[in-house]
């Protein structure tokens, strides 16, 4: 009886852990970087979930007639950006970057680009979901700048790169 109870408890715990891992999917945790904001001269911290994306869709449709932008946004379920510019170099540590890299070292993630220079690192990781692109992580680290971009959902890298100048500018 006790053995059966223990086995069921263990199975339940295992199910909840794997469920949580599955639910996390292409979303990575970036909260550990929040402490860098106090050291940074300039901080960009953007959290856009699917509800906010839906909310903004109508507004953006009215401001931009670019169907590629609409198409790109339609596939996205969340965008999370943390970007810090520092007045002095070495304001962040390798541990800050490694904490992000550890999260994309699991199954499902694959590094498609990695460029490492002198005090410079740029990496792009893609998350595959049933053989489809389900998200991406960009790590861009320079001596006095650190940017992490995490997009959850279907993203076409070529479209994203090409879209830059066509993204409408929205005044404050």
């Amino acid at each position: 009886m006790n053995a059966r109870l223990i086995t069921s408890g263990f199975l339940l715990a295992l199910l909840s852990v794997t469920g949580a891992a599955w639910a996390q999917g292409a979303r990575i945790q970036l909260d550990h970087l929040n402490a860098l904001a106090s050291k940074a001269a300039e901080t960009v911290d953007v959290t856009v979930d699917s509800a906010m994306l839906k909310q903004s869709a109508g507004f953006l449709a009215g401001r931009s007639n670019n169907p590629k932008l609409q198409e790109l946004i339609e596939g996205i379920r969340g965008i999370y950006v943390k970007s810090f510019k520092f007045a002095e170099p070495d304001a962040y540590s390798d541990t800050d970057v490694d904490a992000v890299r550890r999260q994309v070292a699991h199954d499902g993630w694959s590094r498609i680009v990695g460029v490492q220079g002198k005090r410079e690192l740029t990496e792009v990781y893609l998350w595959k979901e049933q053989n489809e692109n389900g998200g991406l992580v960009v790590i861009a680290a320079q001596a006095n700048e650190l940017t992490i971009v995490n997009i959850v959902g279907r993203v076409d890298l070529a479209s994203l790169a090409a879209l830059g100048p066509m993204i409408p500018k929205l005044g404050k």
Binding site: L53, Q55, I73
Partner: protein
């Protein structure tokens, strides 16, 4: 002549049915009341009703407009965040593309 006779007959005093006084007394004893018809609304009440309705409409309307403005502001903020995030992502990805192209171009030159 006939009409006069009919009128006299209609207005003739009639006694109530037998037991009427007993029934009335019994009802009073049992606590029964006879409801008086409601008084007609006062003049101020007749005037206050449309004023109250207009006030409610104005308050409701202004609340609705405020809600719409709040939703609009939220959508604008969300759109700004989306655009900023996409711009940063696009900038970083295209920078990587440029670097990769530079590296491959350099490697090709070294091969030759």
């Amino acid at each position: 002549m006939n009409l006069e006779h009919e009128l006299q007959h209609a207005l003739k005093r009639k006694s109530p049915a037998s037991g009427f006084d007993e029934r009335v007394l019994r009802r009073i004893a049992s606590g029964g009341t006879i409801q008086a018809p409601p008084p007609p609304p006062a003049r101020w009440a007749r005037r206050a009703l449309p004023v109250a309705a207009s006030l409610a409409l104005a308050i409701g309307g202004s609340y609705y407009v405020q809600q719409q403005r709040h939703k609009q502001a939220q959508a604008e903020q969300a759109a700004r965040d989306v655009v900023l995030a996409l711009r940063i992502a696009s900038e970083k990805v295209s920078a990587v593309q440029v670097k990769v192209q530079e590296i491959s171009h350099h490697e090709r030159q070294v091969d030759y």
